[in-house]
Symmetry: C2
Amino acid sequence: MRIAVDAMGTDARPVPDVAGAVLAARETGDHMLLVGDETRIRAELAKHPSEGLKLEVIPAREEVLMTDKPSQVLKNKPESSLHVGINLVKNGQADAFVTMGNTGATHAIATLGILRRIPGVKRPALAIIYPVSGRPVAFLDMGANADSKADWLEQFAIMGSLYAEIELQNHSPRVATLSNGEEEGKGNQLVREAQERIAGTGLNYIGHIEPKEILQAKADVVVFDGFLGNVFLKTFEATLSYFGGIVRQELTAGNVLAKLGALLVRPAFQRVRHRIDPDEFGGALLLGVNGVVVIGHGSGSARAVASAIKQARRAVEGNTVRRIRERLATLTPHAADNDD
Amino acid sequence: MRIAVDAMGTDARPVPDVAGAVLAARETGDHMLLVGDETRIRAELAKHPSEGLKLEVIPAREEVLMTDKPSQVLKNKPESSLHVGINLVKNGQADAFVTMGNTGATHAIATLGILRRIPGVKRPALAIIYPVSGRPVAFLDMGANADSKADWLEQFAIMGSLYAEIELQNHSPRVATLSNGEEEGKGNQLVREAQERIAGTGLNYIGHIEPKEILQAKADVVVFDGFLGNVFLKTFEATLSYFGGIVRQELTAGNVLAKLGALLVRPAFQRVRHRIDPDEFGGALLLGVNGVVVIGHGSGSARAVASAIKQARRAVEGNTVRRIRERLATLTPHAADNDD
């Protein structure tokens, strides 16, 4: 397999990007195409033993900053590492593209500029796999679209279910919508309409669930609009940090026995942190475009880059794009309608 | 002060409701009007020493269940403890009403049935005061309206700022809107429109903030639509429980030293739990109706009932209703427009 990796993606570019690609090349044997500033990439590569690894540098003259506006990048940086990398996928020179860079710009270039939507897809969605209660759960949309319509959420449910089949090796993943309660009449207009539509898809749809149930892994796929999904995940992560901070504060303010206790429980805390470590779980897969594109966190480590690369290769091996194309083609006319 | 307390509110009615009212009567010297099933209330009252306390029973023949639909209660249970209690406020026989019961029904009876909206108020909002990073923060709307418009959010900001002035004794509370990022172009259409409007109100508005910053207490008032607010709080609380569960699990699975450590840190954990204990912080104040109405959690303890009662009396002492009426009367025409 050949995977194009944006070497200019992370905040600490190209250090973790190159190190992560080397790591993934070693672990998978795959061919990595490192896209970006050739001189800087070669300087990084020189720091790693790479004998026997398939590593290639593909020059790209421009790089995209996190602060760049997607529409500006799309038009004004045609030689960016994002453009070059995504074009490798389009032209069949790479099986997938992975970046830790600007999410909006990657989405815009892939969707509007180069790969385009799969026929029948109204809007692509960003899907992540995140472990809760020891089980991987697929979440989408994580922010490809700030405002969504009910029929887009319906398609997110279809694409997310398919992605969960591939990633979780689960033939009938339980699909749910996040709401503020399961009772009739709960939820806003969007989720109530989406509920009706998804109930008609034939998916294993279990209806609305609350945050508590998400964290009990009562669903394998959780569907929300990109704004809510983004706020949900950010609230979850911020609360974990918040609670960690309170605990630390209480422990350092404690007496000698409390501090001794803190020392003794530290290994358990480290196991806890590891269980929820996003570095292990890759990035977001842009579902609904004609190619595999994974976008990770800009703050990601080399390990996070390697995880995102492995996520991309699983999506390629699972024939995600072809299967979404086929699934949408078999659907009822309204779900596959691509009129807007 | 005279406070009407729904004795038929909690899941364990009337036990915590009556005990909480007795507690509040003892702590404040206020006159409590216990509304509900007279026989059951008197049986509960007999369990508490109440000499010198001002406790009165106001009979109400019907009680509202958590599963009752608001519109049904509004029409078909005219003698419910909610109707009777809110009527006491309307008729000037009580200064406030407190219930731990059905939120939707209380909202409907207060807003549509009995107290009505303050002139100029488009929609009432549920406001809570919740401690983060050691500071009380006001959050609204927590679910009075599932779908909101930007001009409603603008009014929530105005009412919430006023409530924070009273509750937090802060003359210029920092008001913020929750979004998925502060950068230009972030947020969905609703919060982007609300941002523009709130920026024109003259409030101390600091713009959009993310969940992380909410938990760092960077704002004194956080404004969102009721659906998002409800999901935000539920995600926060669910994540705390989730993390507590993971820690417990890791500690019990640990070796002897880890368990010893867990024993030693337990007092610190208990302090942590106390710091985020919702029993201490009352309920939600229904801002925007012609009277003080506080709605607490159905699972609340006697302590939670007493906290909700004290929250109601602070709102009365702070002249919240009069001040909202005055504030809205001085506003620009579009904010005070009550046309829908």
